[in-house]
């Protein structure tokens, strides 16, 4: 299907158009992201059946791969692209009224460009192009993290920028080495040529890629930037960073490990690093009794650890569970950050204690919050239950003693997770408000995204079969390298 490049071109053109719209009306700029992302979402959903049947390979510029950059709109790419458009759209709706601090027109441009970067990174089939889109995503994230320009925001932005740039440099070194070895940048072409060389000699390159992408994915010990960045950014940015940005890092790690270099032998390492990240994230979140956004940020680290653990199993079932968890976490964490954003705005403090008793004041927001926390902890019948269950199944099916031990740790970490999320629910519902000043419910543009996300979590929990085929296809795409190469380069 030839229109696939529009998934990238629409938000990009909308962002370039924004300065012109601003000349006419500054207030109109904030409506550009919802419109552009709605178009993207519709387009993406229309492409899903085609992408599931057979990956759509679109060459940019009209030459035959590997002589030009090509997009690969397979199940994995379209899943992440649609997820990005969906979450991006809801967050853009939220931001229409939430972002009051000027220069809000520039906020909306940067937000659109962030979404463009994420979409491009998951769709491209060229390793350097992946780096370029990744860098768009990162640069927009740095700027938006510092958007408030207060002490916390600028510090966090600087820290994020330095660590992210070091990661990007490592990726670029790895790309230079790949080009030196194989003389090509097309991912399918590289995957095709990798078999012809000794895989040990590629170890350094793979390590550079994993560390580089690991910084953005916030894998332990590369996660120092995340708690600061996610807690001091505006709520809508915390949501998109937690829901989408770090997931692109995980996607790139999985893509390079499995499709590009065919190294499932790394499974033990990835599983272990995932579990360590999970434990560090969850324990830090549990210990975070003060700042509620920081608690959610640490929880994101824990969830990323779980996703990496699932991908690290190096089986299609594991990747299925990982992708499922990735989608669920994106929906639930976006919901939590958005919901908490208006609570914090209403009570004027990020402290957990100041949210006491809000359950009566903001019933819809708090109910949605409860749904999201239940899903993240993995209670039935919410979406998170199914994904955690499939990860555990996949882990047990590998029949490896080490993995059994790790599963026990994963379950223990889930208990910790339940502990701090229960604390949040208890604060919202079972504490009396010390200050009976009425705060009132969030405005409509703040409620719509939260309610839609909550409904999606319940629907996916009850009817997981709506997602299963695309998740299965995405997981298979990672491991069926020969098919990937054949689709892109044509029959040998």
């Amino acid at each position: 299907m030839l229109i696939a490049p529009l998934l990238i071109a629409i938000p990009l053109a909308a962002a370039f158009l924004a300065p012109l719209v601003r000349l006419v009306s500054r207030r109109a700029v904030r409506f550009i992201p919802p419109v552009a992302l709605l178009a993207n979402l519709v387009l993406g959903v229309l492409l899903v059946p085609r992408a599931l049947a057979e990956p759509i390979v679109v060459s940019i510029g009209g030459w035959r791969p590997p002589f030009c950059i090509n997009l690969v709109v397979g199940p994995l790419g379209i899943l992440l692209a649609v997820l990005t458009s969906l979450v991006g759209l809801l967050i853009a709706v939220y931001a229409v009224t939430y972002i009051r601090k000027e220069p809000s027109d520039r906020y909306h441009m940067l937000f659109l460009l962030l979404v463009t970067g994420a979409t491009g990174a998951v769709l491209t089939g060229d390793i350097f192009n992946l780096f370029v889109f990744f860098e768009i995503l990162c640069m927009a994230s740095y700027a938006l993290t510092a958007y408030r320009r207060d002490k916390g925001g600028t510090e966090a932005g600087f820290k994020y920028l330095v660590q992210g740039t070091v990661g990007s440099t490592l990726i670029l070194i790895a790309i230079a080495l790949v080009y030196g070895r194989f003389g090509t940048l097309n991912m399918a072409d590289i995957a095709d040529r990798v078999a012809s060389v000794d895989s040990m000699s590629l170890f350094v390159i793979l390590a550079l890629f994993l560390v580089g992408f690991g910084v953005e994915a916030a894998i332990f010990p590369l996660n120092a930037w995340l708690p600061d960045a996610h807690s001091s950014a505006p709520a809508s940015i915390s949501a998109i960073l937690s829901a989408i940005a770090i997931k692109v890092g995980v996607y790139a790690m999985a893509r390079t490990t499995y499709t590009l270099f065919d190294t499932p032998g790394l499974w033990g390492f990835l599983c272990a690093i995932g579990v360590v990240t999970l434990v560090v994230g969850e324990v830090s979140a549990y210990r975070q009794r003060e700042d509620v956004k920081r608690m959610l940020a640490y929880s994101s680290i824990g969830q990323i650890g779980l996703i990496v653990f699932a991908f690290g199993l190096a089986t299609a079932d594991g990747a299925f569970g990982g992708l499922f968890q990735l989608v669920n976490h994106a929906l639930a964490k976006a919901l939590l950050f958005l919901a908490v954003g208006y609570m914090i705005y209403k009570v004027g403090s990020k402290r957990l204690a100041s949210l006491e008793g809000l359950g009566r004041e903001m019933p819809v927001t708090c109910l949605a919050c409860a749904v999201a926390t239940f899903s993240l902890v993995g209670l039935p019948p919410f979406a998170g239950f199914m994904s955690k269950l499939s990860i555990v199944y996949a882990a047990v099916a590998t029949d490896r003693p080490l993995v059994f031990a790790l599963v026990v740790i994963v379950l223990a970490a889930t208990v910790v997770e339940g502990g701090y999320f229960f604390r949040l629910i208890q604060t919202l519902y079972f504490r009396k408000r010390p200050n009976p000043r009425p705060v009132g419910e969030a405005p409509l543009s703040g409620l719509i995204p939260v309610v839609v996300l909550g409904v999606l979590i319940v629907v996916i929990g009850l009817f997981p079969q709506v997602l299963t085929p695309i998740l299965r296809g995405g997981a298979d795409e990672l491991f069926h390298r020969a098919d990937y190469v054949r689709y892109v380069l044509g029959a040998p």
Binding site: K151, G152, F158, V166, T169, Y179, L185
Partner: protein, 124 residues
Amino acid sequence: MDLLGQSVYYVGAVALLLIGFYMVLVKANLIKIMLGISFLDTGVHVLLIAIGYVRGRTAPILSEAMRTSAGGGSPEVVDPVPQALVLTAIVIGIGVLALGLSIAVRVYEHYGTLDAREIRGLRC
């Protein structure tokens, strides 16, 4: 370092990368950190161009070569792709530098210092 001995350009590139990483890891001054990042950029650029170089060939601009050897065989030029990548990377680099330095200036306005050890969120 014997392996690097095959090319002084590789040595230069790796040295710049190492100095850059050292500055980012050890220095406390925010501007020194950004200078380190600029070395990281330059180092990768030299590395890429050195990888694309082929001895005894000319620059990938065919105006001269075309006129002399019209039609005969493939032109003897170095690899144009790394040069294209580095052009892209240079522009990305200046973008990162500009953004990083402007955030550093904002941090300075809040704290009155560029020393990361005296800035709450950067102490680590």
